[in-house]
């Protein structure tokens, strides 16, 4: 489409405030910690099945 006015919206692009990166990365560090803590307490069903089967097979031998 020629002369698309949508391409002119929000131009010129604003620069991102420098302090925002620090805030975002602080959030990410906290999220990572919580995700890793959650993974310690969650049940990995796939892994349980795999280990059970492996255990069962080794007992049969």
């Amino acid at each position: 489409m020629d002369n698309n006015p949508f391409s002119q919206i929000n131009k010129p692009l604003l620069d991102v405030p420098e302090e925002l990166k620090g805030k975002v990365m602080k959030d990410i560090a906290m999220a990572k910690l919580l995700m890793e803590l959650a993974s310690l307490f969650s049940l990995n069903v796939g892994n349980v099945v795999k280990r059970t089967i492996k255990n069962r097979k080794s007992k049969k031998k």
Binding site: F6, N10, L14, K23, I28
Partner: protein, 193 residues
């Protein structure tokens, strides 16, 4: 696979793979550097202030870190990120400003099905004036704004829109058509300058 020592050489897909497999915050920081300006400006389009745009951007990146594993690589990452950002903004605006939007949209709500112009096409869009268009976009619903921006600002195809919005292509075409018609009608009512 050749190990790339310079992270800047990594493609988006490689970067994402690294982030998802190890929750690597260093790689995520690189992803932020690549897309912060884009996300920030998209958020600004839905925000009522710079401060609100910053908050929205912060939220989008946090949500992105947690949900990055849901990106399956069916579309370009940037395309997926546009939709991800818009979705967050639309939900935010709908949740927080629903009453305000309802009030602003009162004139458009009165537009019945019969008043839709079936001949609204892309040529009509190209005739719009930028400042007036900005105002008109604020007066239509966030969902309509999102689909129009994805199509005409980010140039997503109908197929990409269907994938991203999890709709059929005919549903996308219908939503797009209605959004365009509504925009044109609202645009006519905007008293600018």
């Amino acid at each position: 696979m050749q190990v790339k020592h310079n992270f800047k050489d990594l493609s988006d897909d490689e970067l994402i793979e690294g982030i998802v497999s190890k929750n690597d915050t260093l790689l995520f920081e690189m992803l932020y550097d690549r897309y912060a300006k884009l996300v920030y400006n998209k958020c600004y389009g839905f925000a009522s202030s710079i401060h609100e745009a910053e908050d929205l951007t912060q939220d989008v990146f946090l949500k992105l870190f947690v949900k990055l594993k849901t990106f399956k690589g069916k579309s370009k990452f940037s395309t997926w990120l546009y939709a991800f950002t818009y979705n967050h903004c639309v939900n935010y605006v709908t949740r927080n400003n629903s009453k305000k939007i309802e009030k602003q949209s009162v004139t458009t709500d009165n537009i019945g099905e019969d008043s839709y112009d079936p001949d609204v096409d892309d040529n009509s869009i190209s005739m719009l004036k930028v400042e007036k268009l900005k105002e008109a976009l604020e007066l239509i619903s966030p969902d309509e704004r999102m689909i129009l921006l994805l199509k005409y600002q980010d140039f997503l195809s109908i197929k990409e829109l269907a994938e991203i919005l999890e709709l059929g292509e005919s549903a996308v075409k219908m939503r797009l058509k209605r959004a365009k018609e509504k925009l044109i009608n609202v645009y006519k009512d905007v008293d600018y300058g």
